[in-house]
Symmetry: C2
């Protein structure tokens, strides 16, 4: 009998061409599916995630689901997957769920963190894990600007022009700022995020921090519904899919 499993996984995105399977590329999904196929004697097992992550983007709490007929306990699944997966993917938990559960369609919200290292010196230990930013930032202005994004808006200006979804209305619940030594973390919580949305929001907030844009301009940028009026896309290595919320 088939059983559906929900699993929380973490990965260092620096060695992957993103989450989703692509021909001849090392991706998180292809590593997961290769391990599951091996456990099922070559039978392909499809893995569904809460959403994709781009090349270089990390996950602290990505959620996936898959179906299996193997009579294995939740604990044994966790041990088996971790022993077979490469060291840059870790399975944090595996639980049995109803076959109606879907990692993507049931997700009610997501939390992303974007980490900047505010330092003039290159830090070789952080090159894959934070965006090193050597110029000073006006955090007060960035926080003021971020308040314009809270609530329900059409985020067309803040998603990649390649975005195919029609409905670009999303609700952002909170954008918090944490400063710890050199590290500035922007924490985004919302009901969903469009393609590149957190990175474009971050890139635009950085431009507010440098004084290139004013906080109140965020209203106009939202209103324009045009990717070209927002700021640059912040680089992938600072982004972490932190948590996915379900009912």
């Amino acid at each position: 009998m088939m059983q559906r499993y929900k699993s929380i996984i973490s990965y260092d995105g620096s060695g992957f061409s993103g989450y989703q399977v692509q021909p001849n590329k090392r991706t998180v999904q292809s590593e997961l599916e290769a391990v599951l196929a091996k456990m099922h004697k070559g039978k392909p097992i499809k893995v569904s995630a809460s959403g994709r992550t781009d090349a270089g983007v990390h996950a602290k709490g990505q959620v996936i689901h898959f179906d299996s007929p193997l009579p294995i306990s939740e604990e044994k699944w966790e041990i088996a997957l971790n022993s077979l997966l490469p060291v840059d993917i870790s399975v944090l938990s595996v639980i049995k769920v109803d076959s109606s559960f879907h990692a993507r369609f049931d997700a009610r919200g997501k939390e992303y963190h974007y980490v900047l290292q505010l330092s003039k010196k290159r830090d070789p230990f952080q090159r894959h894990f934070a965006y090193q930013y050597p110029y000073s930032l006006n955090l007060e202005a960035m926080m003021q600007a971020s308040r314009h994004f809270i609530g329900t808006h059409d985020f067309t200006s803040f998603c990649s022009a390649k975005t195919e979804v029609e409905d670009r209305i999303r609700t952002i619940e909170t954008i918090d700022f944490f400063l710890d030594g050199d590290f500035l973390t922007l924490r985004f919580v919302g009901n969903g995020f469009l393609y590149n949305m957190v990175r474009i929001l971050t890139g635009t907030l950085i431009e507010v921090g440098t004084g290139k844009r004013k906080p109140e301009q965020m209203v106009d940028i939202l209103g324009e519904k045009d990717r070209r009026v927002a700021g640059k896309t912040a680089p992938s290595q600072g982004l972490y899919l932190w948590k996915v919320f379900y009912d």
Copy 2:
């Protein structure tokens, strides 16, 4: 006219076969010398360090020196080297020193950190930067054991059997323990450390932490002067050359 420069550098050791030049291997020294040769139109410039680090071992404050006839300011040296070096090596400072200065022979002491991640779950972000240790450790016993190493001792039991230096007497000033969340850091300060000494001290202290050895046995192990009686060598990825002290 030749000028001697002292430079403090940091590197992520995970991509190097150690500090020292080896044929057909990527090493920190060979990267540094390749960049200096490029800056000197192919003329080889020898780089001397405070000491070697093994494959996988990191440096937060390795010290090197080199000589150059180029009329470049200290700040410009730092900028030039950082722009030419690979991203896993960072130059933190460059200063002019007297031609009698020697990074190795003038070093009066060193500080090493050994980082353990006390966690049952694999952390893909720490696999190169800490030794993940899933079993519980008696820190009180480890601290008690560490006190036997303070002072001047013959550390033959705590260096690789391959060590070629005759004089294995070293002075350890402090061994401090820091617990921060999952991370246990052992901080070693002393006048010098033999080959693999910090890793063997750490491996032996871990065996005290698990109850395999008693704190007072450290006295006997020192007395035996035999590598085989000490504990295992802790893995390289947890070790950081933190600082080198000069007069």
